[in-house]
């Protein structure tokens, strides 16, 4: 039949998730989320960083088991006991960061774990290579399946990842930001492939930040915010503005205890900071008592910029001046000495030596101050740690217990205390409330505000719009390594920031 009848709403979805919740210690990553995927259609999953998209992908691919809710395939409830069970049920995923092996051939990568066997149980190389060739041909590419992966370009590797995802008999294909590493031409190629998959009747979940792409390829959408599905529908009938509003959601400015601090003279001035690969030509000024929000999507270069301000990496060009004096920061110890400190995003990985006691972690960057003629002084270190533990309301049995025994919120307090103890002029906070519970969040926000009112200058990197909107005096938005605009507090609006960050003007 050639006539295009609209699909009846009663059509059974290929895959349905009902009331899915995923709880991690202290965080509800997904809160009774329901979505439906239909054969031959693309459903776009839209949401800010941390809205719960990746958690959903992990549930669908059998990596996490949800605490509540059910998954139905063709109306039948299923439970994925393992990643293999998800594959067996016909779910395949193309992950954001492709997980492939450089030293194996293209064909081996495609069939790793489910290689066709000969009668004797040996790997059937002839079939592997010929089937790989067929799969790649279906993707309109002529990659030789027998060459090693490391000889391919990034885009070609991506095609291999797609071929791998399609090498299993899958009816449900999940694409987690598949276009992030691709050029416009490669995106067009990818979209042709997706159109082909649609014609084969596959149900596709397409995760992306970029609205233009979503409107181009998807039929349906689901918007996630803070672990909840806050809206869904057909894209054709939904204007972009509405989706942006769903993503951003609430009006939260007054929830944040931002005190209007007296903003003084410029303290830090950055001119034309560039890095060979991560960011280019970034300039801004930071004034005394000011909180400068740094907003952008993951991969926009925010953390990389901050790390180079702190001397962990070196910029290829640019000038940095603190209180009018030009500084050459070659290492983090230079930065600490000058009065610039950086509270990194991942506490465990960058911030704390977990086996070491609390007080030793806190005093680590301040040892030159607590030591007496070159010898460590435990008494001074403990006194320093006690001062900041009290100020931050740190809950610990004793300051001599290993930091690893503390909860996430208290660990964050140790990190912040450790940097405050260096008596900085400028403090850079990278995602200061990521992964901590709501109660501690408010305490951290209150404390940041207090620091600003005491005259400390703060750069706050955050992917959470409410936090950026509620806390910042000014906001710099970064997109793909470039500055995408500086907004004064009066001009701040969620829509404006999201537009600047995603490039949807």
């Amino acid at each position: 039949m050639a006539n295009d009848l609209p699909l009846p709403e009663a059509e059974t979805p290929v895959l349905e998730m009902r009331g899915i919740s995923q709880i991690f210690p202290g965080v509800k990553a997904l809160d009774s989320v329901s979505i439906q995927l239909f054969a031959g259609q693309v459903t776009a999953l839209i949401g800010e960083n941390g809205a719960g998209k990746s958690t959903l992908v992990k549930i669908l691919t059998g990596i996490y088991r949800p605490n509540e809710g059910e998954i139905l395939i063709d109306g039948e409830p299923v439970a994925f006991a393992s990643a293999q069970a998800a594959i067996d049920a016909g779910v395949t995923a193309i992950h954001q960061e492709t997980v492939l092996f450089d030293e194996l051939t293209v064909a081996e990568n495609i069939f790793l774990g489910h290689a066709p066997r000969t009668r004797f149980g040996m790997i059937d190389w002839r079939q592997i290579n010929s089937r790989a060739k067929t799969l790649l041909a279906a993707l309109e590419t002529e990659i030789d399946p027998t060459i090693r992966l490391r000889d391919l370009s990034i885009a070609q590797r991506h095609l291999v990842a797609i071929a791998r995802a399609l090498s299993v008999e899958a009816r449900i294909v999940i694409m987690d930001e598949p276009t992030a590493a691709l050029s416009r031409k490669e995106i067009d190629d990818l979209f042709r492939i997706i159109e082909g998959l649609k014609r084969q009747g596959k149900a596709i979940l397409f995760i992306s930040h970029k609205f233009d792409e979503v409107y181009e390829i998807a039929e349906n959408f689901v918007v996630f915010r803070d672990g909840r599905a806050v809206g869904h529908g057909r894209l054709k009938e939904t204007p972009q503005d509405l989706i942006v509003r769903m993503m951003v959601g609430r009006d939260v400015k007054d929830v944040f205890p931002k005190v209007a601090a007296r903003i003084g003279a410029p303290v830090l001035s950055v001119q034309g900071y560039s890095h060979p690969t991560e960011f280019h030509d970034i300039s801004f000024e930071l004034r005394q008592g000011e909180i400068l929000g740094l907003y952008g999507l993951i991969g926009a270069g925010r953390s990389e910029l901050c790390q180079s301000l702190f001397g962990v990496t070196r910029p290829s060009s640019g000038r940095l001046a603190l209180e009018g004096k030009t500084l050459a920061i070659r290492s983090s110890s230079d930065a600490i000495r000058a009065g610039i400190v950086y509270v990194p995003e991942e506490r465990g990985r960058h911030g704390l030596a977990l086996p070491m006691p609390i007080f030793q972690n806190m005093s680590l960057p301040s040892l030159s101050r607590t030591s007496r003629s070159g010898f460590l002084s435990a008494a001074n270190e403990l006194a320093l740690a006690r001062t900041y533990a009290e100020r931050l309301d740190l809950r610990a049995a004793a300051l001599s217990v290993p930091v690893g025994t503390l909860s996430g919120g208290n660990q964050q307090k140790v990190v912040i205390g450790k940097w405050l103890a260096t008596r900085p002029k400028v403090i850079i906070l990278d995602e200061p409330t990521k992964g901590i519970d709501i109660g501690s969040k408010a305490a951290v926000h209150g404390f940041i505000s207090e620091l600003a009112s005491e005259g400390l200058s703060i750069i706050m990197v955050s992917s959470e719009l409410p936090e950026i909107l509620g806390m910042s005096d000014r906001v710099m938005v970064m997109r793909e390594g470039l500055s995408a605009g500086l907004f004064e507090r009066e001009q701040l609006s969620a829509e404006a920031l999201v537009r600047a960050a995603t490039g949807n003007i």
Binding site: P25, G26, F310, V312, S331, S332, S333, A335, I336, R337, Y342, P344, G348, R349, H350, G351, L352, A353, L354, P355, M356, Q360, L364, P365, L367, S368, S371, G374, F375, L376, R395, A396, A397, A398, S400, V401, P402, G404, T405, L406, S407, G408, N410, Q411, K418
Partner: protein, 329 residues
């Protein structure tokens, strides 16, 4: 009591005491002060080497070249003494840690500047240093009669009931404790191994810290070169062969995390004494040397399992709030 036994060092001490009293039921006199002093003296070189090894391991590295370093340095000072018997002894005793530190610096430089994994670097220099000892000596032995009596006697001379060798070990234990707990460098070793990234962010130069750790380990190995040669009154290429593994074993048994960042001087000393007691006891109670090696091996594996479990437990607490309440001050 149960709380005390959770402390790794105290637990190990209790085990050593139990072992000693157990052995003394089979071999009377095993627990006599003279025999205990003898065991300590016997273990002195291992203790010194293990302390160097520990410093390196704390920074998330490993030094497999300590025994080869000992062999080369021992050969060098023995041959110097044989060739120039008039050189003052003090000079030779300074020369040993000096040469050792130089060899350690080579390890440290390769790890720091060329970013080669420490296990690869020291596996290479392990062979090179031993080979250098062979080239230096041409494979010949330096025997007791070629060396000056003072050169040989100093470490064995008893002072207040213990030979000087044992006193040197005690001084170095105190020194290592001081360096690791009272100097910023010591803190830097724990931080570099405990979390290298966090250490960099805190302004610590972890490359330099590792370099210094290797130099220290080398210097101690060099000093042991002299102590070994004078104690056994002979120098040849294969001395102390395989001892590098004993030093690692002593650290592991003493609760020093092979992943870096965790461990105490007391642990390294007790780990060495544990091996020393076994080594001294087994022949006394009539167990063959082959079984000795197997028993040492089993103990090492058990210690690693024990460590891995302890570390995993600590890691699991991170995710939970009640972790903080479990620990009482």
């Amino acid at each position: 009591m149960a709380r005390l036994l959770k402390n790794r060092e105290i637990l190990l001490l209790v085990i050593i005491v139990i072992m000693v009293s157990g052995f003394s039921t089979r071999a009377p006199g095993f627990a006599s002060p003279a025999n205990l002093a003898n065991i300590f003296n016997d273990t002195s070189i291992l203790i010194i080497l293990a302390l160097g090894q520990m410093t390196v391991i704390l920074t998330k590295s490993i030094d497999l070249s300590v025994a080869a370093n000992l062999s080369f340095t021992g050969m060098a000072v023995a041959m110097t003494n044989a060739a120039y018997p008039d050189l003052p002894l003090a000079l030779l005793i300074l020369m040993a840690p000096g040469i050792g530190a130089l060899l350690g610096a080579i390890n440290g430089f390769l790890v720091w500047a060329l970013q080669i994994p420490p296990i690869v670097v020291t596996l290479g220099t392990l062979t090179i240093y031993r080979g250098m000892a062979f080239v230096l000596s041409g494979g010949a032995w330096v025997n007791a009669h070629q060396m000056a009596p003072s050169f040989l006697n100093i470490p064995r001379m008893p002072v207040a009931g213990l030979p000087i060798l044992a006193w040197i070990a005690i001084l170095i234990v105190i020194g290592a404790w001081f360096v690791l707990t009272r100097l910023p460098f010591g803190r830097a070793t724990y931080a570099s191994g405990g979390n290298p990234t966090a250490a960099i962010y805190a302004g610590i130069n972890i490359g330099w810290t590792r370099f210094v750790a290797f130099v220290l380990s080398g210097a101690l190995a060099g000093l042991c070169g002299y102590l070994w040669v004078s104690r056994y009154a002979v120098a040849y290429v294969d001395i102390a062969i395989g001892s590098e593994l004993d030093t690692v074993a002593a650290c592991v048994i003493g609760g020093i995390s092979i992943a870096g960042g965790i461990g105490t001087v007391a642990g390294a000393v007790l780990g060495s004494l544990f091996l020393g007691v076994i080594k001294n006891a087994l022949p006394v109670i009539g167990i063959s040397p082959f079984a000795q090696m197997a028993i040492s091996g089993i103990v090492i594996v058990l210690a690693v399992v024990f460590n891995a479990r302890a570390e995993k437990k600590a890691g699991r607490i991170i995710l939970r709030d009640r972790g903080a309440k479990e620990v009482s001050a």
